[in-house]
């Protein structure tokens, strides 16, 4: 029974992290799939969202600014707004750059953002990071939440304590995963509506043939900036949820480009750029491969050890590197087999309106 609960909780964590990556991929899809903007500065926008959320919702601490202890919803909305504002400034400056140059500019900007976060130690506690970030659903069990409104309207502190001690310890994990999935669904639905709307058709026109769209009188720069800001706001939301999941964020390793930026790009391209469903599928697929590959490699090494005479000590010490090799090979296979992505972009045809 415990074993089954264990598998269930691992499945919940796969859903949660896959959902976070899905949000980032959906945001990137708005920028790349809709508008053709080559944004390689994902880590920067996600880190802004994460830090804004962390600084607003943690408890007061001597190590960093604030810890304003605001409600979680305020933190999440503020994360999206902060990301949107910074991307607006960047967009106004950079949006006219062509694809490769925009890529270089956004890489640089992501690094600048991370260095600013790292070096302003009085505000962000520098490389040591911010911990004890409240996590949705789990925060209800923390004293500073159930002693305060709105929970104190419904019942006293003692009642809440007895309710929580009667629940199993892990009750909040499926709730958290489900909340993330609902958020992904809502964002997906909104983006689908956007894609099939006149705005979406105009973005496709701008992406495919910009001079023609210009000639037709469309404000290309304005639309591009809109797409950039919208994508960044979704990434900011994902950053806030990432901060909730990890409960500790720090500027060097958490927002490492090789794991965040590179991986999300692979997820989007493998899943199908331009296709929102593809973004979600790619994210879950690549994340499950990344996470489960450790189990596969360990089981594989055990099996080799049990059924052959090969001494597996050498293999076990290299298991981490073997896993990277396996992930690389699988990515190669997927990208070779589905060069347009597993779910290629589907444009609405003229007849689909009727």
């Amino acid at each position: 029974m415990d074993q089954l609960i264990g598998y269930f909780l691992y499945f919940c964590s796969l859903l949660a992290v896959g959902g976070i990556y899905s949000l980032i991929a959906l945001g990137l899809n708005v920028q790349w799939g809709f508008a053709g903007l080559f944004n390689v500065g994902i880590a920067g926008f996600v880190s802004i969202g994460a830090y804004t959320y962390a600084l607003l919702t943690t408890d007061t601490s001597p190590l960093h600014y604030g810890g304003l202890g605001l409600p979680l919803a305020v933190g999440i909305v503020a994360a999206m707004i902060a990301s949107g504002l910074i991307s607006a400034i960047i967009g106004v400056i950079c949006i006219r750059l062509r694809s490769d140059y925009l890529a270089i500019a956004t890489i640089g900007i992501a690094e600048i953002i991370k260095l600013v976060l790292k070096n302003n130690s009085e505000i962000t506690n520098g490389p040591r990071g911010i911990n004890k970030i409240p996590r949705l659903w789990e925060n209800f069990t923390e004293e500073r939440f159930y002693n305060d409104w709105p929970m104190s309207w419904f019942a006293s502190a003692e009642t809440w304590q007895s309710i929580f001690s009667s629940l199993p310890r892990w009750w909040w994990q499926p709730c958290f995963a489900l909340s993330i999935i609902i958020a992904v669904y809502v964002v997906y639905k909104l983006l689908e509506k956007l894609r099939l709307s006149p705005w979406g058709r105009m973005m496709t026109a701008i992406r495919e043939n910009e001079p023609a769209a210009h000639a037709a009188g469309k404000n290309v720069t304005g639309r591009r900036i809109e797409a950039f800001i919208l994508g960044s706001m979704i990434m900011g939301l994902a950053g806030a949820v990432l901060a909730m999941h990890l409960r500790l964020i720090e500027p060097t390793n958490t927002f490492d480009p090789s794991k965040l930026t590179f991986l999300v790009w692979v997820m989007l391209i493998a899943g199908g750029s331009g296709n929102n469903r593809g973004a979600i599928l790619g994210s879950f697929l690549i994340w499950v491969i990344w996470s489960a590959s450790e189990i596969v490699i360990n089981v594989g090494i055990d099996v080799i050890g049990d059924f052959t005479n090969i001494h597996v000590g050498i293999l076990s010490t290299r298991a981490g590197y073997l896993r990277m090799l396996l992930i690389g090979l699988l990515l190669q296979y997927i990208l070779q087999k589905y060069p347009l992505g597993i779910l290629p972009e589907s444009r609405p045809t003229a007849s689909s309106k009727t």
Binding site: R128, R169, V296
Partner: protein, 397 residues
């Protein structure tokens, strides 16, 4: 693709349900920034596992003590994922590890503490870990906090007659924390710090930093990892003769430093690391075991890794069953006085005493390993200099 995932999960279910053994999770930074430091630590963990299973295993039924290794990559995201798998899929009774402080704090706050699982870190030295828990007692470590190493290094600097210096630290959580403690203690005790600057790791050249720092002094306190910029910075300093004396901590203590910079240039370089007091019985026992197994008994955090693994097994044996809720109390009971002294490798003796209902007090190869209220231990530090082409350490008293 999907079929192979299902068949692998099925195989895993078969394999894991096969025998009733005691599983302990061991997330270590096998890949990441410091694999050369972590490899001997992993071997020490395996050595402890071997000794325990050779001398009768766990409980009266002789169950096998199994270390389940995972890769935490010295990174919060990866360590949270690795420990989630260890706790939920492998069903471990406790966590021995991780190596890096950021990874340790993230996995503890995100996974281990909410699940009620004890974490016994082998080398996480961030001062923040001491006070990170409220209301729970699940976070322990067998390595002394940086708060102590920074103080020891400051006192060493003053004792060596370095009345003024500049400080340069790599801007990451380990080195920044260490530099802060060092600077505070050094200045408070009469030392003069000209400049205290961060530098970014992994740069190709540090000439500008070296020029700025070396303007007023010949002495440099350097806190960096050798592989991500430390060696480059020292090389730039030596090329421009900006500094003659170098002082630093264990991120720089590697053979690679001697190989790349040349032993003849490192005459005035002293680096500290946590170490064992070689005059104790615990160390003598550990040294004998390590030499037989081909391990360097004074490798950074190598004895700490052995001790952590051994103590986790003793805690489970003391608790009487692989029950996560009992481990924290048992860990304190076997690590602290009173009790019969148990040294590294004495599993059979400890098992007999515990079976008879007695009390034990483990003294490890890296120190007495007595936990204070925060789950921390005190530690000794050594200062290493280059002799005959290798680092030779002497304990700081």
């Amino acid at each position: 693709m999907r079929k192979s995932i299902y068949s692998c999960i099925a195989a895993l279910a078969v394999v894991s349900g096969a025998n009733a053994d005691v599983k302990v999770g061991n997330p270590m930074a096998m890949t990441g920034p410091i694999p050369d430091l972590v490899a001997p630590m992993a071997l020490a963990v395996d050595l402890a596992e071997k000794h325990i299973n050779e001398q009768g295993g766990m409980f009266a039924s002789g169950e096998e003590y199994v270390i389940v290794r995972a890769d935490s990559m010295c990174d919060p995201v990866a360590s949270v994922d690795a420990v989630t798998k260890l706790i939920n899929v492998s069903g471990v009774v406790g966590i021995v590890g991780p190596v890096c402080s950021g990874a340790t704090i993230a996995q503890a706050e995100s996974v281990a503490i909410p699940a009620g699982v004890v974490t016994l870190s082998v080398s996480a030295s961030a001062p923040a870990i001491s006070n990170m828990e409220t209301g729970t007692d699940l976070m322990f470590r067998t390595a002394a906090s940086d708060a102590y190493q920074g103080v020891a290094l400051a006192e060493l600097a003053l004792a060596n007659g370095l009345t003024d210096l500049s400080v340069s630290y790599a801007n990451d959580d380990y080195n920044a924390g260490l530099a802060e403690v060092f600077a505070e203690h050094y200045a408070a005790n009469g030392g003069k710090i000209h400049l205290n600057e961060a530098h970014e790791p992994n740069k190709a050249s540090y000439r500008s930093e070296v020029a700025t720092l070396g303007a007023n002094t010949e002495n440099l306190a350097l806190f960096a990892y050798y592989g991500s910029g430390g060696i480059t910075l020292m090389r730039n300093a030596m090329e421009t003769a900006a500094f003659s004396t170098f002082l630093g901590a264990d991120g720089m203590l590697a053979q690679e430093v001697i190989d790349q910079l040349g032993a003849e240039n490192l005459g005035q370089a002293t680096f500290t690391t946590s170490t064992s007091d070689e005059s104790t019985h615990g160390y003598a026992m550990w040294k004998a075991l390590a030499t037989v197994a081909g391990l360097n008994p004074l490798g950074p955090f190598v004895p700490n890794s052995y001790d952590a693994t051994f103590m986790m097994a003793l805690a489970v044996e003391h608790a009487g069953s692989a029950d996560r809720d009992l481990i924290a109390t048992s860990l304190r009971a076997i690590a602290n006085a009173p009790g019969e002294i148990i040294l590294p490798g004495e599993w059979a003796k400890a098992k007999k005493i515990l079976a008879a209902g007695g009390d034990i007090h483990y003294n490890g190869g890296s120190g007495p390993q007595d936990f204070d209220a925060n789950g921390d231990v005190a530690g000794d530090f050594s200062a290493s200099v280059v002799q005959d082409g290798a680092w030779v350490g002497k304990i700081i008293k």
